[in-house]
């Protein structure tokens, strides 16, 4: 049987696909607590990546006609992505474990031969202390790269550092 086709970079011109409304996951009338998830994508020199495609997927609330669960945002000249979505709840983990509320993130961009996958958790959630993924990251500073922080009214910020100091934990999925 054939193996999975090889990935190639999304390149700098993927915006030809872009529909800016996709960054708003509440546009079909989703119910629930609306939040903004935003942050900068930064390279190994700490410089913004202004040409990235940031995609999110959340398994909670479950996708429906009113909530696509999936969003796509560009990054602006400051490297900032920005989504409007619904605050996720806890999600079943493997075995009897429960996962803390989280949003899966995939960064695609020029200079990335494959997507880089990470997750945004939310500061202050009790379940963060028992989340299997967070617990599996031993170094607290590394674990902290996956925690979005409050940044204003119903707004959460998580920067993504592709390389170097403060490098975000990227996941082998």
């Amino acid at each position: 049987m054939a193996n999975t086709t090889a990935s190639q970079t999304i390149g700098p011109y993927w915006h030809l696909l872009e529909d800016a409304s996709w960054a708003d996951l509440t546009r079909f009338g989703a119910e629930g607590a609306k939040i903004t998830l935003t942050g900068a994508v930064l390279d190994g020199d700490g410089k913004p990546c202004p040409d990235a495609c940031v995609e999110i997927w959340q398994s909670d609330p479950p996708a429906s006609d009113r909530f696509p669960g999936f969003g796509r945002s560009n990054t602006d000249s400051a490297g900032m992505y920005r989504f409007t979505t619904v605050m996720p709840g806890p999600v079943a983990g493997r075995g009897n474990a429960q996962q803390a509320p989280h949003i899966a993130i995939c960064i695609l961009s020029r200079g990335l031969m494959r997507g880089l996958v990470t997750r945004a958790y939310f500061q202050g959630q009790t379940l963060n202390d028992s989340d299997p993924l967070l617990l599996s990251i031993e170094e607290p500073a590394r674990r902290a790269t996956l925690i979005a922080r409050p940044a204003g009214e119903a707004t959460w910020r998580m920067d993504v550092r592709l390389q170097g100091e403060g490098e975000t934990v990227f996941l082998d999925v």
Binding site: N3, T4, T9, I10
Partner: protein, 233 residues
């Protein structure tokens, strides 16, 4: 509740590394730390569903308001299967590309080649129940890019696939058989395994070709399949 069945790990050598220094753009953008393992949970084994009624298909990129784009009309068609050879039905396929002169209709593309107002630079279709898809487009031109001296990208079409789960997301590029630029392209050559690399090159196919109308290229793609048995954690 039983654990979700994970998707298979990628076969060694079949995917490009993040650190691919011949492609200069990777130098400051690849992570230095090893990827952290994450046994698949429901977040990874589920994914978005796109439907044609909400995400309008555009299978013909060669015509804008009845006026034909310039260049060589081509048909690109193929089948999307998983690693077990099962078709992936009703999944969204997105493409975008340069026009016949090698120019993207994008503000960042400053290559001195003409834009074509009658060419759609992007398209979207959904596979049928047998995993088949088909686009009508224009053969894209080559274009220079800032990497090594005299660097030119081979003719290519960008493809984006979702498949059934977040873990099956794939973005790639389709190349054309016989392109002399392939030998020099660091993005193509970032895929270590030669066979995996050459599967990115479409196959000229007379069965896809329409007489007196357009040459046909077949580009079949494989998305990740599920592990045969659930893995431990």
């Amino acid at each position: 509740m039983s654990d979700p069945i994970p998707f298979r790990p990628y076969a060694p050598g079949t995917q490009p590394p993040y650190d691919a220094p011949a492609y200069l753009g990777t130098i400051k953008r690849h992570p230095k730390q090893r990827l952290h393992p994450l046994p698949h949970t429901v977040t990874e084994t589920t994914g978005p569903r796109f439907t044609a009624d909400r995400f309008a298909p555009l299978a013909d990129l060669t015509m804008v308001t009845g006026k034909p784009a310039l260049g060589e009309r081509i048909i690109v068609a193929g089948t999307i299967t998983d690693e077990d050879g099962r078709p992936v039905p009703h999944t969204m396929v997105e493409i975008w590309q340069a026009n016949a002169t090698g120019r993207y209709n994008h503000p960042s593309d400053q290559h001195d080649a003409p834009l074509d107002p009658n060419f759609h630079g992007a398209g979207r279709v959904f596979t049928d129940e047998n995993g088949r898809y088909r686009f009508l487009t224009i053969r894209p031109g080559a274009y220079p890019w800032p990497n090594h001296r005299n660097a030119w990208r081979p003719n290519h079409i960008h493809f984006s696939y979702f498949g059934p789960a977040f873990a099956t997301r794939l973005v790639t590029q389709m190349y054309f058989p016989g392109d002399p630029l392939l030998a020099f392209d660091p993005i193509f050559h970032a895929v270590p395994d030669e066979h995996a690399r050459h599967r990115l090159v479409a196959v000229f196919d007379l069965d896809v070709t329409e007489p007196d109308y357009a040459l046909g290229y077949r580009f079949d793609v494989v998305l990740r399949g599920r592990s045969a048995t659930p893995m431990g954690h």
